[in-house]
Amino acid sequence: MKIEELFAQNFVRHSVDFVLELRREFILRKCQFLQFLRTKTGLRGAFLAVFCTLAGASGAAAQSCAMCYQNAAASGAQGGATLRHAILVLLLPAITLFVGILGLVYRRRNPVR
């Protein structure tokens, strides 16, 4: 066998081994991270991270469609109040559902034994 062929074979084998090793490492880290999330500290950390992300993105909340903004601004105080009510009508059940489903998932996080 030529030296070039040997080199190519070894290169492919080592590359595959390297990728498999990376994959194993990734899965291991992922499992460790998920296990950490299941602990109290992990859960608190996750909530803190989500909170910080949301709090840090307050600038994004100020952005909106210019046309919508113009329309809302032109509708006066009554229009603004109407829009706020409509947003609340959509927001409250959505948040309730979100919290409810989250609670359901948390309560049933362990498989039935």
């Binding site: 006066g76 009554q78 229009g79 109407t82 409509a86 009508v89 959509l90 359901l104 039935v112």
Partner: protein
């Protein structure tokens, strides 16, 4: 601690386990091994969440259309027959509860009896809604007459379609129960859906009457 009817039914199904046929199943709905019966209840809860959000989107649109300044909103008085329809739906909810209680108490014949009454009341409700539409049409109020009448038709038709689905589910469970889930689970899931539609209708009715 006293077990709730849902828990009791699910426990009789095999503790949310593997779809064992209950004593009243009579061979019906032998269940699908591997799918916990509780999964169907969870699925129904999620579906109800989706339906709720659909109607909330309509309510939100109603709030905006009605409350915006310079709106062409002309209030309409909903037909009085809606009171009777609401009563029918409430009674149907009660009869369905009775049917489930009979099923828990292993009185199969009575359970079927109340189940049938619920189905008939559901059909009566739909007929009442059609009558309400007829009364509005006679009064010259159609879908495109004004925004208020449009919302009335949209709300009642969307709810009516869901009721139609509920009646279909009631019939299917009574006549030819699905094989994947036990009769107890099917009863629980359909009852959840029906009670939800009843409460939803009361909300829509209050909105149509108080918000006119």
């Amino acid at each position: 601690m006293q077990a709730s009817p849902v828990t009791e039914l699910l426990e009789r199904d095999g503790g949310g386990g593997f779809g064992q046929s209950g004593p009243l199943g009579g061979g019906e709905g032998s269940g699908n091994p591997g799918v916990p019966q509780r999964a169907y209840v969870t699925g129904m809860i999620l579906a109800l969440g989706g339906i709720l959000m659909f109607f909330m989107a309509l309510v939100s649109a109603w709030v905006v259309r009605k409350g915006f300044p310079n709106s062409d909103w002309q209030p309409i008085t909903p037909p009085r027959i809606l009171w009777l329809n609401s009563l029918i739906l409430i009674v149907s909810s009660v009869t369905l509860s009775r049917s489930r209680r009979c099923l828990v108490a292993r009185r199969d014949e009575q359970s079927r009896h109340w189940w049938g009454i619920t189905t008939i009341l559901g059909v009566f409700f739909l007929a009442g809604q059609l009558l309400a539409w007829r009364q509005l049409a006679v009064a010259g109020l159609f879908l495109a007459t004004n925004p208020s009448s449009s919302f009335f038709y949209v709300f009642t038709s969307a709810h009516g379609l869901h009721i139609l689905g509920g009646i279909a589910a009631l019939l299917v469970v009574a006549v030819r129960p699905p094989q994947r889930l036990t009769r107890q689970t099917a009863t629980t899931v359909v009852a959840m859906y029906w009670h939800f539609l009843c409460v939803l209708w009361l909300g829509i009715f209050a909105l149509l009457w108080l918000g006119k």
